[in-house]
C-alpha cells in the first residue's frame, strides 16, 4: 500500500512511493522525525487556549474531508463552551462511499497524524473522551491504528496526563460492521451507543446533542490528519497550499478505468487533467467518457466538463456535482451509463436504512426502474418517472443518503439522457457491443494484474 503520487504533499509527505523505507514510516518515531506531535507539544507547552486553536483552523479554510466539506473550525466553534458535562469527539473512519479508500491508507501510512489531530481536536472542543469508529472491512487499518495508539499512549501523547501537562484525552476504537449509513454522523452515534445504525432527525445537531445526548463533534479521518499540519505550518501556509476557501491538499482515491488506480495527494484546485495524468491516464489510452468526481453520491460529469475542472469544493460544486470524499471514479468510452447507474442505485437501495419513507421506498423504486431499463424492459415515461422520484426523495429524507441516491440518478439523466432513452426505445445499449466487450477484457486484465 502506498500513495501512488503526489503534488506538494502535506499529509503524506515522506510517505510517497519514492521515499525510501516506507515500511516503518508509520511508526511514532518516524512521525516525530517528520515533525509530528510538534503541534501538540506547542499547544501544551505554550498553553495555547482552545479558542486560538479553533481560530487557526478556521483561518486555514480546512473543510471536512468526509464528503460535506463543512468548514472544520466553524464546526468546532459550535460546541458549547459552558457545558458542564462530558463532551465527546469522534473520528469517522467508516469509509463506505463507493470509490473512496483514502482513510484506509491514511490509517495505514500515517496513523499518528490522525491521533495527533484527534487529541488537538479534543483539546479544542474540551472533550476528554474520543472515539474512533473504523469501517468493518479494513481490519488491517484498524490493527495498525490500535498499534499506533499504543505507541502514542506509551509516548505520552494520549492518556490522562498528556506530556505531563495534566491534559486528558482518551481514545477508544469501535469497529463498524459494514453499514454504509453508519458513516452518516448521527447513525454513527446510534451505532456507537449500541443501537440500530440509523440516522437521527436533525436538528438537534451533534454539537448540541450527540453521543448519549452530550455535545459531540464528529470529523473525518483525513480532516483530523490535516489538523497537526495546519497548526505546525500555520493557517496561512496551509491555506496557501490550496486556494481561497479550499485550504490545503486533498487525498483523491482515483479508481475505475484508470491506469494506476490509487490514492493521490494534490493541492485543492489542481486541474482534473493533472490528477488524471498523475494516475497514468485512462486505461489503455482510451477516451474518457465521464467521471464521478466525489464518490457515487456526487453527480456524474461528462468528460468535457471534467477536463476543464479544478478539483476543489467550490469549482466542482459550480459544475453541478461535488468534491465529496474525493473518490474520483473514472469511466471510459466502453461504459454503459445505464449499467453504471444500475450498480449505483442497487447500492443505495441496499444501504438505505429503511427508516424514512422517501428513501426506503424511493431508492428501491429507482433501482427497479433502472434495472428494468438496463434489461431492455424500459417503458415510455420511465425517465420522467425516475426524475420525478429523484426530485421527490431529494430534501425530504432524514439524512443525506436519500439525497445522494437522488443526485446520482439526476446526474446520469442530466448528462446522458440520450443513452437512457436509447435503452428504453431500442431495448439495447448505445455503446456498441464490441466496445463494451473490450471494456470487459480490459477489466479482466487489470483484475489479473492486481491479483498477487
Amino acid at each position: 500500500m502506498a500513495i501512488l503520487g503526489a503534488i506538494d504533499p502535506i499529509l503524506t509527505k515522506g510517505l510517497d512511493a519514492d521515499a525510501s523505507d516506507v515500511s516503518d514510516a508509520w511508526r511514532c518515531r518516524a512521525y516525530v522525525d517528520r515533525g509530528g506531535y510538534a503541534a501538540l507539544r506547542k499547544i501544551v507547552s505554550e498553553k495555547i487556549p482552545p479558542a486560538r486553536v479553533i481560530a487557526e483552523v478556521k483561518k486555514s479554510a480546512l473543510r471536512g474531508r468526509g464528503g460535506a466539506g463543512f468548514p472544520t473550525g466553524l464546526k468546532w466553534s459550535f460546541m458549547p463552551s459552558d457545558y458542564d458535562g462530558d463532551k465527546y469527539l469522534i473520528c469517522n473512519s467508516d469509509e463506505g462511499e463507493p470509490g473512496s479508500f483514502k482513510d484506509r491508507d491514511l490509517l495505514l501510512l500515517n496513523p499518528h497524524a490522525v491521533i495527533e489531530g484527534m487529541v488537538i481536536g479534543a483539546y479544542a472542543i474540551g472533550a476528554k473522551r474520543a472515539y474512533h469508529y473504523i469501517h468493518g472491512e479494513i481490519p488491517e487499518a484498524c490493527a495498525r491504528f490500535l498499534e499506533a495508539l499504543d505507541e502514542a499512549r506509551a509516548a505520552g501523547f494520549v492518556g490522562s496526563d498528556i506530556l505531563g501537562s495534566g491534559l486528558c484525552v482518551e481514545i477508544a476504537v469501535h469497529r463498524g460492521r459494514g453499514a454504509y449509513v453508519c458513516g452518516e454522523e448521527t447513525a454513527m452515534l446510534e451505532s456507537l451507543e449500541g443501537k440500530r445504525g440509523q440516522p437521527r432527525n436533525k436538528p438537534p445537531f451533534p454539537a448540541a446533542s450527540g453521543f448519549y445526548g452530550a455535545p459531540t463533534t464528529i470529523n473525518n479521518t483525513e480532516t483530523f490528519a490535516a489538523v497537526p499540519f495546519v497548526l505546525s505550518m500555520g493557517a496561512d501556509a496551509y491555506l496557501a497550499a490550496g486556494k481561497p476557501g479550499n485550504g490545503g491538499t486533498k487525498l483523491f482515491s482515483v479508481s475505475g478505468h484508470i491506469e494506476r488506480p490509487g490514492n493521490y495527494e494534490v493541492p485543492l484546485g489542481t486541474p482534473f487533467g493533472t490528477l488524471l495524468e498523475l494516475a497514468g491516464g485512462v486505461r489503455a489510452a482510451r477516451a474518457l467518457k465521464a467521471c464521478i468526481p466525489g464518490g457515487t453520491s456526487a453527480a456524474v460529469l461528462p468528460a468535457e466538463v471534467m477536463m476543464n475542472l479544478a478539483m476543489d469544493y467550490d469549482s466542482i460544486s459550480r459544475a453541478g456535482s461535488m468534491l465529496g470524499s474525493g473518490a474520483v471514479i473514472v469511466l471510459d468510452e466502453t461504459t454503459c451509463m445505464v449499467g453504471a447507474l444500475e450498480a449505483i442505485t442497487c447500492f443505495y437501495q441496499r444501504e438505505s436504512c429503511g427508516q424514512c419513507s422517501p428513501c426506503r421506498e424511493g431508492t428501491r423504486w429507482m433501482h427497479r426502474i433502472v434495472r428494468r431499463i438496463e434489461n431492455g424492459e424500459g417503458r415510455p415515461g420511465d425517465l420522467e418517472t425516475l426524475e420525478d422520484i429523484a426530485r421527490n426523495i431529494s430534501g425530504r429524507s432524514i439524512c443525506a443518503l436519500g439525497d445522494a441516491a437522488s443526485a446520482a440518478v439526476q446526474g446520469f439523466l442530466k448528462h446522458f439522457r440520450g443513452e437512457f432513452a436509447h435503452h428504453v426505445e431500442r431495448g439495447e445499449c448505445l455503446v456498441p457491443r464490441e466496445v463494451q466487450r473490450e471494456g470487459c477484457r480490459l477489466r479482466e486484465i487489470s483484475k489479473e494484474a492486481s491479483t498477487p
Binding site: A179, R196, N201, Q349, R350, E351, S352, C353, G354, Q355, C356, S357, P358, R360, E361, G362, T363, R364, W365, R368, I369, R372, R379, G381, T385, N392, G395, R396, S397, I398
Partner: protein, 816 residues
C-alpha cells in the same frame, strides 16, 4: 407557567407553548397536519415524512412533528412545496402497500386510506412487483398476518419500548427489506399488547378476535366503563346486532389516557360466551330447569321468606362481586338488611377484616390516578402491578421514567418492566415485618426515634435490615411527593390490617401518601353502597355456613379467598340464589335459583373507581335473551317480599339516593363521560385508622411450613374475563403451576417439571379454628428464582386450584 410564542400558520396567527412541536401547536389550535408515525404519547421518529411543512426561510420542507415552534415562525401547510411533498410521500408509501382496501380489515378506519383520499394522487405509476412480507404469529390477540401492509412508521416498536416497557417488537432487515418482527419464535406477551392495534395506522396489526367480523360502518359505538380493574377505564363498546364485537379506548387523560389493557379490550368475548344464561332457572326435582321470570322470582322470594322465617335472618348471607355496579351492590345490601340480616359483603377475596370499624373513611388510592406519575418516590407493597392493574403499572413506568424512584416490596420478583430503584421479595408471613424494617430504617436515618407504636410491636420475628430495605427507605429521603401503595397481595393477606397500619405509620413518618390500588371496579363503590357487614363478613359467612345464600355476580369457587370452604358451604346450604349473567358447571351444582342478570354492557349503572370518581354508564346493547339488569331483579325481589323502598324508576334513582346519603359532591355533566351520566367524586375517602385499631393476631406459620403465594391471574380475575376465548389462549392464562425457588425444590427432592400433589387445609384456618378438611390438587412443579425460599406460588381464581384453601395459607407438596 410556560411562555407562549406567536406563530403563523397559513397566514393565521396562533399562540403556541414555547418548546412545543409544530404538529402539537397546530393541533392545539385546531389545525390538523397529516401524519402517520407521529403519536402524541410516543417519542418522535419523524420517519414517515407525511407531516412535512414549509417554514419561511428554511430551504427544505421540515417535519412538523420534529420541528419546534419559534416566535414569528411562518408555516405553510398548503404551499405547492407541501402539497407536492404530501403527494409524493403517499405515492412512496403506496408503492408496496396492497391496494386492496375492500378486503382489508382496516378498510374504512384506515389512516393511510383516509390520507390517500385527501392528499394522494389518483393513479399509480408503479409497475414493479410489490414487496411481500411473510406473516408472523405473535400470539392470540394481535394479528401480524398482513405485514405487507406495514408502512414502517415504527409506532408499534416505540409503543413496546416506551409504553409497555419491553422491546418485544423491532425492525429487522434494512432498506426496502425492513420488517417489523418479534424475537424469532416469540410472541408479544405484554398485557398492553392490544394497543398495538390502535397505534398501527394501517391494517398491518389487527385484532385477531375481531378481524373480518364487522366493518367499521356497521358498528354502533357506545361509551362505557370497563369493569375489570379499579381504574374505571373509559371504553367504547362497538356493537353489531346487539352484541359487543369490539372494545376500544375512549381517551381520558385522567384515567387511561388513550390506552387499554388487553383484559379490558378483549374481555368482551366473555359477554358473548355460551355460558350466558338466557332464561331463569330453578331447581325442580334436583335439576335446574328453565322457567318464566314470574315463576322464578316468586319461587326465590317465597323460599327466601320462608327460610328466613324458619331459621332466623342470620341464616341468610349475601355476597356481591366488587365488579357489580354501585346500584346493584346497594340494592343487594338493602334487601339483605331489610330481611334482617347483616351478613353482607362485597370483598370475597379478603381474609383480614380487622380494619372494619376502625377506618376513618373509605380506603382509596390516596390521590388522583394522574398524580401517580408526578410522584418523586413510590413504594408498591404486595402487588404484581402488571397483572393486577396494567394501567397502574403504566403510570409507575411513567413515574420511573421521569426520574422518580419506584421500589417494590413484593411476594415474587416478577418483572414489572419498570426501572426499579430497589426491590425486596418476601414470604407472605414476612410482609409486615419487612415493611416495618423499611419504616425503622427510614426513621433512624432521619434521626427520629424508633417508631415504637403498639401496632408495630408484634410477635412476628423482625425482618433483617438488608441493603435493599435501606435502599427502599432511602428512596423516600428528600422526596417532595411520595406514596406507598398497597396492592392486592397486601389487601388479601391474612395480615392486611397490620400491613395497613404499618404502611400508615410509614406514610406519616415519611410524609408520603398511603393508597390502595384496589382490585375491582367497585372496590371503593362497595363501601359507598353501604355493603359492609354488620354481621358475618365475606370470609365468615362461608367459614360458618349459612342456610341461605344470595350471590350476585360472584362465583365463590373462584372468587373467594378460600374457594374450597365457600363451595362446601354453598353445597350444604338449603337455598342458593345466584343473580348472574353466567352459569358455570359449578354454579349448576349448588344454585337453586339462577336469575340471568345483564352484565355491565347491557345495563345502566355506576362504578366508583379507586380515586373516588363516580362514572355512570348506560347499557350498550339489549340484555341477552331474557336476562335483566340486576338492579331491576333486586327491586322485583324486594317488592315481592313486601319490603319498602324498592320502587325505583331507574338505576340513576338508586345512584342518586346512595350518593346523596354519602355526601356526594356531584357536578352535572362534567368530564369525558358527560353525555352519558354524571361524573363526580365521592367524599369521605380516608385511609387512616383510628386509635383503637388492633391488628388481627398473626398466625405464625409452623417452622419449615411451606407458605402459599397466590396471585389472581389477570385473565381469570372475574366472571366475564375468564370466559373470554382469546384471552384464555395467552401466556398469562397458562394453567397454574406450583412455582418454587430452586432451593425449596431441592429441599423437597422434587425436580423441575415433575407433577406434584399440593395439599392445603380447606377449612378455615387461624383465628377461627381449622375445620380439618383438606383439599388437594395436582400441578406441575416449576423452578422459579423470582420467589423467596419456602414458598409455593399457586395461583388462585383457577378451576385447577379451586379445591385448595386460603390464598395465603400453608400447604404441603409431595411428588404425585
Amino acid at each position: 407557567m410556560t411562555n407562549t410564542v406567536s406563530i403563523e400558520i397559513d397566514g393565521k396567527k396562533i399562540l403556541a407553548k414555547e418548546g412545543a412541536t409544530l404538529i402539537d401547536a397546530a393541533r392545539d389550535a385546531g389545525i390538523s397536519i397529516p401524519h402517520f408515525c407521529y403519536h402524541k404519547k410516543l417519542s418522535v421518529a419523524a420517519n414517515c415524512r407525511m407531516c412535512l411543512v414549509e417554514v419561511e426561510k428554511m430551504p427544505k420542507p421540515v417535519p412538523a412533528c420534529a420541528t419546534r415552534v419559534a416566535d414569528g415562525m411562518k408555516v405553510f401547510l398548503h404551499s405547492e412545496l407541501v402539497l407536492g411533498a404530501q403527494k409524493a410521500i403517499l405515492e412512496f408509501l403506496l408503492i408496496n402497500h396492497p391496494l386492496d382496501c375492500p378486503v382489508c380489515d382496516q378498510g374504512g378506519e384506515c389512516r393511510l386510506q383516509d390520507l390517500s383520499m385527501r392528499y394522494g394522487g389518483t393513479r399509480s405509476r408503479t409497475r414493479e412487483a410489490k414487496r411481500v412480507v411473510s406473516p408472523k404469529d405473535i400470539g392470540p390477540l394481535v394479528s401480524m398476518r398482513e405485514m405487507s401492509r406495514c408502512i414502517h412508521c415504527t409506532r408499534c416498536v416505540r409503543f413496546c419500548r416506551e409504553i409497555a416497557g419491553l422491546a418485544e417488537l423491532g425492525v429487522v432487515g434494512r432498506g426496502g427489506d425492513s420488517e417489523i418482527a418479534a424475537f424469532a419464535g416469540r410472541s408479544v406477551d405484554s398485557e398492553l399488547s392490544g394497543n398495538l392495534i390502535d397505534v398501527c395506522p394501517v391494517g398491518a396489526l389487527t385484532s385477531k378476535p375481531f378481524r373480518f367480523r364487522a366493518r367499521a360502518w356497521e358498528l354502533c359505538r357506545r361509551p362505557s366503563i370497563s369493569p375489570h380493574d379499579s381504574f374505571g377505564t373509559n371504553v367504547a363498546l362497538d356493537v353489531k346486532d346487539e352484541r359487543v364485537v369490539r372494545v376500544l379506548p375512549r381517551e381520558n387523560e385522567e384515567i387511561n389516557e388513550c390506552w387499554l389493557s388487553d383484559r379490558d379490550r378483549f374481555s368482551y368475548e366473555g359477554l358473548n360466551s355460551p355460558d350466558r344464561l338466557k332464561k331463569p332457572l330453578i331447581r325442580i326435582d334436583g335439576a335446574l330447569r328453565e322457567v318464566e321470570w314470574n315463576s322464578a322470582l316468586d319461587y326465590a322470594a317465597h323460599a327466601l321468606k320462608s327460610l328466613v322465617e324458619a331459621h332466623g335472618a342470620d341464616a341468610l348471607a349475601s355476597l356481591a362481586s366488587p365488579s357489580a355496579t354501585l346500584e346493584e351492590i346497594h340494592l343487594l345490601q338493602k334487601l339483605t338488611r331489610a330481611l334482617g340480616s347483616g351478613n353482607v359483603d362485597f370483598r370475597p377475596r379478603r381474609r383480614d377484616f380487622s380494619t372494619d370499624g376502625h377506618r376513618s373513611g373509605i380506603p382509596w388510592l390516596g390521590m388522583r390516578i394522574a398524580e401517580i406519575a408526578e410522584l418523586d418516590a413510590a413504594l408498591v407493597v404486595g402487588s404484581f402491578p402488571r397483572k393486577d392493574n396494567p394501567l397502574f403499572a403504566l403510570r409507575l413506568r411513567q413515574l420511573a421514567k421521569k426520574a422518580g424512584r419506584v421500589s417494590m416490596l413484593s411476594l415474587a420478583d416478577d418483572d414489572p418492566r419498570i426501572d426499579l430503584a430497589a426491590r425486596v421479595a418476601v414470604r407472605p408471613s414476612e410482609l409486615p415485618a419487612a415493611l416495618e424494617a423499611i419504616l425503622r430504617a427510614f426513621a433512624r436515618s432521619h434521626g427520629e426515634k424508633e417508631p415504637g407504636s403498639r401496632v408495630l410491636s408484634d410477635t412476628t420475628a423482625p425482618y433483617a435490615e438488608t441493603d435493599a430495605i435501606r435502599a427502599i427507605a432511602e428512596s423516600f429521603a428528600g422526596a417532595k411527593k411520595s406514596a406507598i401503595f398497597l396492592g392486592a397481595g397486601a389487601e388479601h393477606s391474612p395480615t392486611a390490617g397490620r400491613i395497613h397500619a404499618i404502611a400508615g405509620a410509614f406514610a406519616r413518618a415519611s410524609g408520603a401518601r398511603l393508597g390502595f390500588i384496589g382490585d375491582a371496579a367497585n372496590g371503593v363503590g362497595g363501601y359507598v353502597a353501604g355493603a359492609l357487614p354488620t354481621g358475618l363478613n365475606a370470609y365468615e359467612m362461608f367459614a360458618q355456613p349459612r342456610k341461605v345464600y344470595l350471590l350476585h355476580g360472584v362465583e365463590p369457587e373462584l372468587d373467594c379467598h378460600n374457594p374450597a370452604q365457600s363451595l362446601f358451604a354453598l353445597r350444604h346450604a338449603d337455598l342458593v340464589v345466584a343473580v348472574t349473567p353466567f352459569v358455570g358447571e359449578t354454579t349448576l351444582e349448588y344454585a337453586d335459583v339462577v336469575l340471568p342478570a345483564a352484565p355491565f354492557s347491557e345495563t345502566s349503572g355506576s362504578f366508583v373507581n379507586t380515586e373516588g370518581r363516580v362514572q355512570s354508564f348506560e347499557g350498550a346493547c339489549r340484555p341477552l335473551g331474557e336476562s335483566r339488569p340486576a338492579w331491576k331483579i333486586f327491586c322485583a325481589l324486594g317488592r315481592l317480599l313486601g319490603l319498602p323502598g324498592f320502587d325505583y324508576a331507574s338505576s340513576a334513582a338508586v345512584r342518586d339516593e346512595i350518593l346523596v346519603s354519602t355526601a356526594f359532591e356531584g357536578r352535572e355533566g362534567v368530564g369525558e363521560i358527560g353525555r352519558v351520566g354524571r361524573v363526580g367524586w365521592v367524599e369521605g375517602l380516608d385511609n387512616a385508622l383510628d386509635e383503637a385499631f388492633a391488628p388481627r393476631e398473626a398466625h405464625p406459620a409452623a417452622a419449615g411450613a411451606l407458605e402459599r403465594v397466590s396471585d389472581v391471574p389477570i385473565h381469570f380475575s372475574d366472571a366475564i374475563v375468564r370466559r373470554a376465548a382469546a384471552l384464555r389462549e395467552t401466556k398469562d392464562a397458562a394453567a397454574p403451576e406450583a412455582r418454587m425457588h430452586p432451593t425449596t425444590l431441592e429441599d423437597l427432592k422434587i425436580s423441575d417439571g415433575e407433577r406434584v400433589r399440593i395439599r392445603q387445609a380447606s377449612g378455615s384456618s387461624g383465628a377461627f379454628g381449622a375445620s380439618g378438611a383438606s383439599g388437594e390438587t395436582t400441578l406441575t412443579a416449576r423452578s422459579d428464582t423470582s420467589l423467596p425460599e419456602g414458598c409455593v406460588r399457586v395461583a388462585a381464581a383457577h378451576p385447577s386450584t379451586a379445591a385448595l384453601g386460603d390464598m395465603f395459607g400453608t400447604l404441603t407438596v409431595e411428588r404425585a
